[in-house]
C-alpha cells in the first residue's frame, strides 16, 4: 500500500471542505446540492481507502504498518514530527468514522433539504470528518491535540449551526467551554510527559511506560491529565453537562458527532494511551470509577426526559461510561497483575473499542430515527407523538432494532460488547459491576419508554407546530428513501456488527455465536433488560400501571433527575455567574478602575492641585519677590551664624 493512502483518507474530506467553502458557496450558490454530492463522494472514497488500509493491516505482522513522518518544528533539541499511525485500532476507527459519516451525509441530503445553510452544513461536516480522521491517524500527542481541538471546533460550529436561535448559540459556547476545561488538563499532561521523557511520539511513550522508564507518580498524573481531556470530550461526569444541550444542532450532526464519533474520541484517546494508563493502578481505577458512575448517573436522567434527543444524549453519556468502565476494569486487572501484560494491553483496547464500534452504529441509527420522526411531526417531544408505527413503519422497525441492540439482547450487536464489559467488571471491580447491571435495567426501561410513547398507541400531537428544524410543514408520513435507506443499512449493522471479529482483531477474546449464552452474566443481564422493557410496556403501552401515580410516589427523585441534579445550575448560575463574572471579576474590575487607574489619576490630579497651589507664589509682584529674597538671605545668614 502506498504511504499516501492514509493521508488521502484524511485529505479527501478536507478538500471537500475547501471546494465547498471557496468554490461552491461563493460561485455556485444556486446549486447547493453539489455540496452534498461532493461530501458524500469524498467520504465514500475515504471509506473505500479505509477498507484497503484495514485489509493491509490485517495481513501485516503485528497488525502495524510503519509510516514515514515529517518534521513540523525544530527549535534546539525540541523537535516535533508529524506522522500517521496505522495499526488495528486506527484501522477500526477509520472504518467507524468513514462508514457512519457516509451514511449520515446521505441522510442529511434529505434532512437538510431546503435549508438556507445547506452548503455551510456540508462544508462543516466535511471538515469534521477530516479532523476526526486526522485524530485517529495521529501518531503523536501534539498532532492528536491539534485534531482534538479541530473536532471540537466543528462541534461548536455545528451545534450553533442555527446560530440565530439563542439556545443554539448558548449550547455551542457551553460545549466549547466545558470541553476546554478538560483540554486544559490534557495539554498540561502533554507538556508534563514531554518534560519527563523528551518525546511526543505515542509509540515511544508506550515503550517508555512499559519499560518502567517513567516514574509512577509521573505516569499517574500524566494519565489523569489525559483522562481529563477524555472526560470533557466524552461528556463523562463531572463535565457531562454540555452534551444534552448540544442536541440544539441538526439531528444528523447529533448522530455523527455527538453519538458515534467525536464523543467517542475520549474513549479512543484512553485506548490509544492504554499502556500509560495500565501502568498506574490509580489512573485505571479513576477511569473505571468515573466510567461506571457516569453510566448509571446519566441513565437516571434518561429515565425522565421528554425530549427524544435528550434521552438519546443521556443514553450516549451512559454508554460512553460503559466503554470507560470496560477500559478501566481491564486496566485494573493489568495493573494488579491479574491479567498478564501482553494479553491485557490488547484486551483492554478490544473491550472498550468493541463497544464503541457497535455503539457507533446503533446509536447513530437511533438518532437518525429521531430525526426521521421529527421530520414528520415537527417536534422532539415524545408526549406529542404516539402511534407512528402505522405511518412510519420503516422508522419504527429500524428504531426498534436499534433499541434492542443498545439494550443488549442476544444476538444483536450491543449484546456482544456489553457482555465483554460486564464480564471484566465482574472479574476486577465487583461494586462497579453491580452499578453496570442496574444500568442495564434502566437502559432497557428508558429506551422502550421512548419506543412505546413514540410508536405505540394513538397520535397525540397537534400536528400544527413546526420547530423550524426542517423547512417542510410537518405531515405524518414516512421519510423519503434518501433518509430511510441509511437507516436500513445502519439497522443491519446494528444487528451484525457484533458478529464481526473486531474484538479478536484488536487483540481481545471473541465468543462463539451460541457459546456466549453459556455465561450466567449474559442471562442475568438479559433478564434485567427484559424486566426493563416489561416495565416500560406496563406503564406506557398496556397502561397496567399509571405512570402519573408512579411519578407522584417518587416525586423527589423525579425532580432530582429531571432537574439534572441541579448541576447545570451549580456550574452556570453559581460558579460562572455568581462567583466569577458577577463576583470576583467585578471586584477585580473595580480594583482596576478605582485603585490601579485611580492612583494614576490621583497622581495626575495631585500634580495639578500642587501646581495650582505653587502657582499662587508666582504673583508677579516685585515687592513680594523682594520680601522673599530678603527673608531667604536672613535665613541663610542665620544658619551660618548658628551652625558655622
Amino acid at each position: 500500500m502506498p504511504s499516501g493512502v492514509p493521508l488521502a483518507i484524511f485529505l479527501l474530506p478536507f478538500f471537500s471542505f475547501i471546494v465547498i467553502s471557496f468554490i461552491i458557496r461563493p460561485f455556485l450558490n444556486s446549486k447547493p446540492q453539489l455540496s452534498g454530492y461532493i461530501t458524500t463522494a469524498s467520504i465514500g472514497t475515504s471509506l473505500i481507502l479505509s477498507l484497503w488500509v484495514l485489509a493491509e493491516v490485517s495481513s501485516a505482522p503485528g497488525h502495524v504498518l510503519s509510516m514515514p513522518d515529517y518534521e513540523w518544528l525544530a527549535i534546539g533539541d525540541t523537535v516535533i514530527r508529524f506522522g500517521v499511525t496505522v495499526d488495528a485500532l486506527a484501522a477500526i476507527m477509520l472504518i467507524v468514522v468513514t462508514s457512519v459519516s457516509l451514511l449520515v451525509q446521505v441522510y442529511s441530503q434529505g434532512y437538510m433539504h431546503g435549508d438556507p445553510g445547506y452548503s455551510r452544513y456540508f462544508a462543516f461536516m466535511s471538515l469534521f470528518t477530516a479532523f476526526m480522521l486526522g485524530l485517529v491517524l495521529a501518531d503523536n500527542l501534539v498532532s492528536l491535540y491539534v485534531f482534538w481541538e479541530g473536532v471540537g471546533l466543528c462541534s461548536y460550529l455545528l451545534i450553533g449551526f442555527w446560530f440565530h436561535r439563542p439556545a443554539a448559540a448558548r449550547a455551542a459556547t457551553k460545549a466549547f467551554l466545558v470541553t476546554r476545561i478538560g483540554d486544559f488538563g490534557f495539554l498540561a499532561a502533554i507538556l508534563f510527559l514531554y518534560s519527563k521523557t523528551g518525546t511526543f511520539d505515542i509509540g515511544e511513550l508506550h515503550h517508555l511506560a512499559l519499560a518502567g522508564a517513567i516514574g509512577g507518580t509521573v505516569l499517574t498524573w500524566a494519565a489523569i491529565g489525559i483522562f481529563s481531556g477524555a472526560i470533557g470530550k466524552s461528556a463523562q461526569f463531572p463535565l457531562h453537562t454540555w452534551l444534552p444541550d448540544a442536541m440544539e444542532g441538526p439531528t444528523p450532526v447529533s448522530a455523527l458527532i455527538h453519538a458515534a464519533t467525536m464523543v467517542a474520541a475520549g474513549i479512543y484517546l484512553v485506548a490509544r494511551m492504554f499502556p500509560v494508563f495500565a501502568s498506574s493502578l490509580t489512573a485505571v481505577t479513576t477511569v473505571a470509577a468515573i466510567g461506571g458512575f457516569t453510566a448509571i448517573f446519566a441513565a437516571t436522567m434518561a429515565l425522565v426526559m421528554n425530549d427524544i434527543k435528550r434521552v438519546l444524549a443521556y443514553s450516549t453519556i451512559s454508554q460512553l461510561g460503559y466503554m470507560m468502565l470496560g477500559l478501566g476494569v481491564v486496566g485494573i486487572g493489568v495493573a494488579n497483575d491479574a491479567i498478564p501484560l501482553e494479553v491485557g494491553l490488547g484486551l483492554g483496547v478490544a473491550v472498550g473499542i468493541f463497544h464503541l464500534f457497535n455503539h457507533a452504529f446503533f446509536k447513530s441509527l437511533l438518532f437518525l430515527g429521531a430525526g426521521s420522526v421529527n421530520h414528520a411531526t415537527g417536534t422532539f417531544d415524545i408526549r406529542e407523538m404516539g402511534g407512528l408505527r402505522k405511518v412510519m413503519p420503516w422508522t419504527y422497525i429500524t428504531f426498534l432494532i436499534g433499541s434492542l441492540s443498545i439494550v443488549g439482547i442476544w444476538p444483536l450487536a450491543g449484546f456482544w460488547s456489553k457482555e465483554g464489559i460486564l464480564d471484566h467488571a465482574w472479574d476486577h471491580q465487583t461494586a462497579l459491576f453491580f452499578l453496570a447491571m442496574i444500568t442495564v435495567f434502566m437502559t432497557a426501561f428508558y429506551m422502550f419508554r421512548v419506543v412505546f410513547l413514540t410508536f405505540a398507541g394513538e397520535y397525540r400531537g397537534s400536528n400544527a407546530g413546526h420547530s423550524g428544524a426542517s423547512a417542510h410543514a410537518p405531515s405524518l408520513r414516512e421519510s423519503p428513501l434518501v433518509m430511510v435507506a441509511p437507516m436500513g443499512i445502519l439497522a443491519i449493522l446494528a444487528v451484525i456488527s457484533g458478529w464481526l471479529p473486531v474484538s479478536s482483531f484488536l487483540g481481545g477474546e471473541s465468543e462463539s455465536f451460541f457459546g456466549a449464552l453459556a455465561h450466567p452474566i449474559a442471562w442475568v443481564s438479559m433478564v434485567l433488560a427484559a424486566l426493563g422493557i416489561l416495565l416500560a410496556y406496563a406503564l406506557y403501552s398496556a397502561k397496567w400501571l399509571s405512570s402519573e401515580s408512579l411519578r407522584r410516589r417518587f416525586a423527589p427523585l423525579h425532580t432530582l433527575f429531571s432537574r439534572k441534579y441541579w448541576i447545570d445550575e451549580l456550574y452556570e448560575r453559581v460558579i460562572v455567574v455568581r462567583v466569577l463574572v458577577d463576583g470576583i471579576f467585578v471586584l477585580l474590575n473595580w480594583f482596576d478602575t478605582r485603585i490601579v487607574d485611580g492612583i494614576v489619576n490621583g497622581i495626575a490630579g495631585g500634580t495639578i492641585v500642587a501646581g495650582k497651589g505653587i502657582r499662587r507664589l508666582q504673583t508677579g509682584q516685585l515687592q513680594a519677590y523682594g520680601i522673599a529674597i530678603f527673608v531667604g538671605v536672613l535665613a541663610i545668614v542665620a544658619c551660618f551664624l548658628i551652625f558655622g
Partner: protein, 494 residues
C-alpha cells in the same frame, strides 16, 4: 557596505509623508493611494529581506554602520537579526493594513496620512537600530504622531487618552534614558551588540546592574504593558481611530517585549535569572487578572484592549522562563498577537462603522447581516483563544512548552500550569463576545446594515491568511527567530 535596505525601509515612509504634505492638490484619493503605495513598497522590501535572510548565521545581517556623533561614539548602526526581522515584517505589513483600514477617513486627510507614515518610520527605526541612542531616538519619534492621531481623529475622551498615553510613555522613556546613560558610562558604548557581548554584569556591582536592569525594564513594561502600568492602554485603544488601534496593538506593544529581550535579557542575563520568578509572577498577573477584567468590559474596543494585556502576559512568561523554546514562543506570540489583535481591532472598526455601536449589550445577531465579518471575527477570536491551526496556538504552545521544561526558574512548572488557566478564560470571554454580538436573533435596528466591501474583505482576509499560514507551518518564522534567540540563551550559561 551593501545596498542600504534598512535605511530605505526605515525612511521610505517619512519620504512618503513629506510627499503627501507637499502634494499640490488635496485630492483625498491621491493621498490615500500615495500612502498605500509607500507602505506597500516598504512591506515588499522587508519581505525581500525575509527571503534573503541567512538562517545559518547568528548576529545581525544587512548591517549599516556610520559614525553619527563621534564625540560620544554614537553610531548610525542598523541591522536585523532573528529577533528583529519578524518584528520588521510584522510592522511593515500592519503599516500597509493601517492605510487600508483608514480608507474612509475624511477629516484632514493629508495630515492624517502624513502622521501615520511618520509613525511607521518611528517604529521601524526601533526594530532596526542596534545603537542604543539611535534606538531611543526612534522610540521617542513615535510619541508625537500617536498623540496627534488619537487627539484629533479619535473619539470619546480622546484628549485625556492621548495625554495619558504620552505621559505614561514619557515616564517610561525617562527611566529608560537613565538606564541607557548608565549603560554608556559603565560600558563605554551605545553599541547593543558590543554591550551584550562584553559581560558588563561581571564588571559592575550587582546593585548597579539590578538598578539599570529595572530602569530599562520599566520603560519596556509600560509599553508591553505589564501590570500595574497598563491602564493607559484601554483608554488609548478605546478612543483611538481604528488604524491607530491596529498599530498600537500590533506594533507598539511589541516594542516593549522586543526591548526586554534585546536590551534587558541580552545585556543582563544574570539579573534576568535572579529576578525571573518575580517577573514570571507578574506575567501570571497579566494573564489572569487581564482576562478577568476583560470579562467585565461592555465596550468592544475596551474588551479587546484588556484581552491584549492578558495575551502580553504570555510574552512576559515566555521571555523570563528563559529557555530557547519559550523565548522563541514569546516572539512568535508577539507576531501572532500583532496580527490577531490588529485584525480584531480592524473588525471592531468595521462593526462600529456599520452600526455606530460599540456597546456589546446593544449589539446582537449581526451574523445574519454581515456574514463575512462574522466569519472573520470568529476566526480571529478562535485564533486569540489559541485554536490549533492558527498562529495563536503555535505561539502559546511554544511558550507553555518552553516554560514548562525550563531549567533556570524555580517552580516554573507550577507557574506555567497557572498561566494555562488563561486559555480557558480566553475561550470564555471570546465565545461569549461572539455569542452576544453575532449570534441570536438580529435586532431590528440592524436590519439594514451591510457587510464588508471589497477592499475591507481584502484587508481582513489577507490577515486571516497570514494567521493560518503561521498556525499551520510555524517553522516559517521560528527557523528565523531561533537564530536570534540562541546567542541569548547561550549567554545564560546553559
Amino acid at each position: 557596505m551593501d545596498f542600504p535596505y534598512l535605511s530605505i525601509i526605515v525612511f521610505l515612509p517619512v519620504i512618503g509623508a513629506i510627499l503627501i504634505a507637499l502634494l499640490p492638490q488635496a485630492d483625498p484619493r491621491r493621498i490615500k493611494f500615495t500612502a498605500a503605495f509607500f507602505t506597500l513598497a516598504v512591506f515588499a522590501l522587508s519581505l525581500s529581506l525575509f527571503f534573503m535572510f541567512d538562517t545559518g548565521l547568528e548576529g545581525a545581517q544587512f548591517v549599516e554602520r556610520a559614525s553619527w556623533i563621534p564625540a560620544i561614539d554614537a553610531q548610525y548602526f542598523l541591522g536585523v537579526d532573528g529577533l528583529s526581522l519578524p518584528m520588521l515584517v510584522l510592522a511593515t505589513f500592519l503599516g500597509f493594513i493601517a492605510v487600508l483600514v483608514s480608507w474612509k477617513i475624511d477629516l484632514r486627510v493629508r495630515e492624517y496620512f502624513a502622521w501615520l507614515l511618520v509613525l511607521e518610520t518611528g517604529v521601524l527605526g526601533v526594530f532596526c537600530s542596534l545603537d542604543l541612542l539611535l534606538f531611543f531616538l526612534f522610540w521617542e519619534v513615535e510619541i508625537l504622531p500617536m498623540f496627534l492621531l488619537i487627539s484629533i481623529w479619535g473619539t470619546g475622551r480622546k484628549e485625556y487618552s492621548a495625554m495619558k498615553f504620552v505621559i505614561f510613555t514619557l515616564a517610561g522613556s525617562a527611566m529608560m534614558l537613565a538606564g541607557i546613560l548608565l549603560l554608556y558610562f559603565h560600558g563605554g558604548t551605545f553599541d547593543m551588540m558590543e554591550l551584550a557581548g562584553m559581560g558588563l554584569e561581571g564588571a559592575i556591582s550587582t546593585l548597579l546592574a539590578t538598578a539599570i536592569f529595572f530602569l530599562l525594564f520599566i520603560g519596556y513594561a509600560v509599553k508591553l504593558p505589564v501590570f500595574p502600568f497598563h491602564t493607559w492602554l484601554p483608554d488609548a485603544h478605546t478612543d483611538a481611530p481604528t488604524a491607530v488601534s491596529v498599530i498600537l496593538a500590533g506594533i507598539l506593544l511589541k516594542m516593549g517585549g522586543y526591548g526586554m529581550i534585546r536590551v534587558c535579557v541580552s545585556i543582563f542575563p544574570g539579573v534576568s535569572q535572579d529576578y525571573a520568578v518575580l517577573l514570571v509572577a507578574l506575567a501570571l498577573v497579566n494573564i489572569i487578572y487581564g482576562a478577568a477584567v476583560t470579562f467585565r468590559q461592555r465596550d468592544l474596543k475596551r474588551l479587546i484592549a484588556y484581552s491584549s494585556i492578558s495575551h502580553m502576559g504570555y510574552v512576559l512568561l515566555g521571555i523570563f522562563a528563559l529557555s530557547q523554546v519559550s523565548m522563541t514562543g514569546a516572539i512568535l506570540q508577539m507576531f501572532s498577537h500583532g496580527l490577531i489583535t490588529g485584525l480584531l481591532f480592524a473588525l471592531v472598526g468595521l462593526v462600529y462603522d456599520k452600526t455606530h455601536v460599540r456597546d456589546i449589550p446593544q449589539l446582537g445577531g449581526l451574523a445574519r447581516r454581515m456574514p463575512i465579518i462574522a466569519v472573520v471575527f470568529s476566526v480571529a477570536g478562535l485564533a486569540a483563544l489559541g485554536l490549533p491551526g492558527t498562529s495563536g496556538f503555535a505561539a502559546e504552545f511554544l511558550v507553555f512548552l518552553g516554560s514548562f521544561k525550563s531549567t533556570l526558574v524555580d517552580g516554573i512548572q507550577t507557574y506555567t500550569i497557572l498561566g494555562m488557566v488563561g486559555i480557558v478564560l480566553t475561550a470564555g470571554y471570546i465565545l461569549w463576545l461572539l455569542q452576544r454580538v453575532f449570534y441570536g436573533p438580529i435586532k431590528a435596528q440592524y436590519d439594514k446594515v451591510t457587510d464588508a466591501n471589497r477592499l475591507e474583505q481584502f484587508t481582513i482576509i489577507s490577515m486571516v491568511a497570514v494567521i493560518m499560514l503561521i498556525g499551520i507551518y510555524p517553522a516559517v518564522l521560528t527557523d528565523i527567530i531561533k537564530v536570534g534567540v540562541s546567542p541569548i540563551i547561550a549567554s545564560l550559561g546553559l
